[in-house]
């Protein structure tokens, strides 16, 4: 591609192969520049998430994180992988200030999380969309009300809510399930509701902790596609997963954890820049034999 650029200013390693080899290989940053959204705004730091030597020991003595250092730039789509117990959820939970690190510093959008007081935590969390493996929907509310709750919390008026919720439900393909309760939905649909709720406030950062952990492969692809679509609007997305096959097919940046340590930080395979979400899903379903086939 003509305007593809080498990603600068990140500590990430690019794929081992040299630059001129394929035009399909490009940095995520250039993809971000192509997408509209908050990332296109001038000013403000580029680094959304920064972990500096973060260690966390649970009260039980278990090691959650061990000197983890990494950063995520605005607009990136990053996978956090590692086997069960490697610390992926711990990273997510420290990011929403559910847990405090034992040592090291975590910054989000340049703000040191340890400086946010307990009373201010709810306001901080409104800037982060969170998606969970077990969906965490409110069982007593319909699809519509579950999504609306995230807006009610932030003090949106009823009119704004009536304008925004149908929009986001259309984006997530739930327009026909508005009045269903969570227990009347399939797993994939529930996860869509949870994504709609996480994204309805258009947070600059979206965290997903094993969002496809409870879903079948086809549904998983749909969910990944939805997350990718959200990423294309300019939202930084961090997804924890232990499904290596899926992650390899996605060809995004991958951070690997093991025993609470970051053991790998690289872009897997060949990056595909600026592909549409349909092409993206197509590729996930049918992994190409060779990059040229795209």
């Amino acid at each position: 591609m003509p305007n593809s650029r080498q990603n600068s200013g990140t500590r990430r390693r690019l794929p081992a192969s040299g630059p001129g080899q394929s035009n399909a290989r490009a940095s995520i940053r250039s993809e971000r520049l192509a997408a509209p959204g908050p990332s296109a705004r001038p000013g403000g730091g580029r680094t959304v998430v920064e972990f500096r030597s973060v260690s966390l020991r649970y009260p039980s003595g278990d090691k959650g994180l061990d000197q983890a250092t990494f950063s995520v730039e605005r607009g990136e789509f990053v996978f956090l992988i590692g086997s069960t117990g490697s610390g992926k959820s711990t990273v997510m939970r420290t990011l929403i200030k559910e847990l405090e690190p034992t040592s090291g510093t975590i910054s989000v959008a340049g703000r040191d999380l340890s400086e946010i007081s307990r009373a201010k935590v709810p306001y901080y969390r409104r800037n982060i969309g969170m998606v969970f493996q077990d969906f965490k929907l409110l069982p007593n509310r319909t699809v519509y009300d579950n999504v609306a709750y995230a807006l009610q919390v932030t003090g949106h008026s009823r009119r704004e809510i009536r304008a925004k919720v149908p929009d986001i439900l259309r984006l997530t393909g739930l327009s026909l399930k508005l009045h269903n309760y969570p227990d009347q939905l399939s797993g994939g649909e529930q996860q869509r509701v949870s994504i709609a709720r996480a994204f309805v406030n258009h947070p600059p950062l979206l965290l997903a902790d094993e969002p496809t952990g409870n879903l079948d492969p086809d549904t998983s692809i749909d969910i990944m596609r939805l997350l990718y679509r959200i990423n294309r609007t300019g939202t930084t997305v961090l997804v924890a997963s232990h499904d290596h096959a899926m992650v390899n097919r996605m060809r995004r940046r991958v951070l690997e954890l093991s025993g609470g340590r970051i053991v790998r930080d690289e872009a897997t395979g060949l990056y595909v820049r600026d592909e549409s979400t349909r092409e993206f899903a197509q590729r996930l379903r049918n992994p190409p034999q060779a990059p040229e086939s795209l």
Binding site: I96, E98, P122, Y123, Y124, R125, R126, M130, K136, L137, L138, P139, N140, R141, Y149, A150, Q152, V153, T154, R197
Partner: protein
């Protein structure tokens, strides 16, 4: 606008979590019925105990020869004794009229009035009666005033009355404390259970960025509603009990000098207030544990 939202939230919670809300409602209703029955009973017991205690007095009989001046002096001296609330004079004529009313036949036989002029000395506190009596009797058989003939001797009766009424008061107070403790524990535990069933919901609300009070208000309002409805049910039960059981008996009871009890209206106010207070406070406080996410 916010209040409307919180109210709607509270109603939604009660509708969709009917079982725990119903348990809390039942706990409050039952507790309030018990309290509602207990308050008038304690009141009645206290009332009769106080009635008996207030009859404790020291009677001072004057010599038949006592003059008006001497009587006035004695009255002054009696009022000077510490712990005396009131001194009531009863002339021999009044005493005679009073006594002959209760036993006309016996008094008709008497040719002259054998009764002396009497001072009824009423203590401020019935417990002082014995001290007042010994003050009038003086030391070494030397009476307070030479014009006094004699002092009534109900020492053992007075002691018994004082002991019994004290026991009744202590028992009633102890039962009241136990009952209040039991009801607070019952209501508090029921609310805790109903909140425990919804702790996941609270957790999710916190993760979406709701502030503590944004989460708490619907629970407190729900507590108020459950408390109000529970007390109302209790009041209906109490009202039926009063009309069906108490009022027919009241005719018989008046023979036994019907004790003064709390007016029903006050009972209503106290029960609804207590029901709402315990329930709302219980909800608000119990939630604290689940808000720490």
């Amino acid at each position: 606008m916010k209040l409307g939202f919180f109210l709607k939230e509270a109603f939604r919670a009660m509708r969709r979590n009917a079982a725990p809300s119903f348990a809390a409602l039942a706990a409050i209703a039952v507790t309030m019925v018990v309290v509602g029955v207990f308050i008038p009973i304690v009141q009645a017991t206290q009332g009769s105990a106080n009635g008996v205690r207030n009859q404790v007095e020291v009677d001072v009989y004057m010599k038949t020869s006592a003059t008006r001046a001497e009587e006035n002096r004695v009255r002054g001296e009696l009022l000077g004794i510490s712990g005396v609330k009131r001194v009531v004079f009863e002339s021999k004529a009044q005493a005679f009229a009073q006594e002959s009313k209760s036993d006309p036949a016996a008094y008709a036989l008497l040719s002259s009035n054998p009764l002396p002029d009497t001072f009824h000395v009423i203590p401020a506190n019935p417990a002082n009666a014995l001290a007042i009596r010994s003050a009038i009797l003086g030391h070494h058989g030397k009476l307070l005033d030479p014009a006094i003939q004699n002092v009534s001797n109900h020492t053992s009766d007075t002691k018994k009355v004082l002991e019994v009424t004290k026991l009744v008061t202590i028992t009633a107070a102890l039962l009241a404390v136990l009952l209040i403790l039991a009801s607070v524990l019952l209501v508090g535990n029921t609310i805790r259970l109903s909140l425990y069933a919804r702790r996941r919901e609270v957790e999710v609300m916190k993760l979406v960025g709701a502030t503590d009070w944004f989460i708490r208000w619907p629970f407190v309002i729900e507590g108020v509603l459950v408390g109000a409805i529970g007390s109302l049910i209790a009041l209906i039960i109490l009202g039926v009990m009063k009309v069906a059981l108490l009022d027919p008996l009241a005719g018989n009871w008046s023979l036994l000098h019907a004790p003064q009890t709390i007016p029903f209206l006050w009972l209503v106010v106290i029960l609804i207030g207590a029901g709402i207070g315990v329930s709302a406070l219980g909800s608000g406080l119990s939630l604290r544990r689940f808000l720490r996410v």
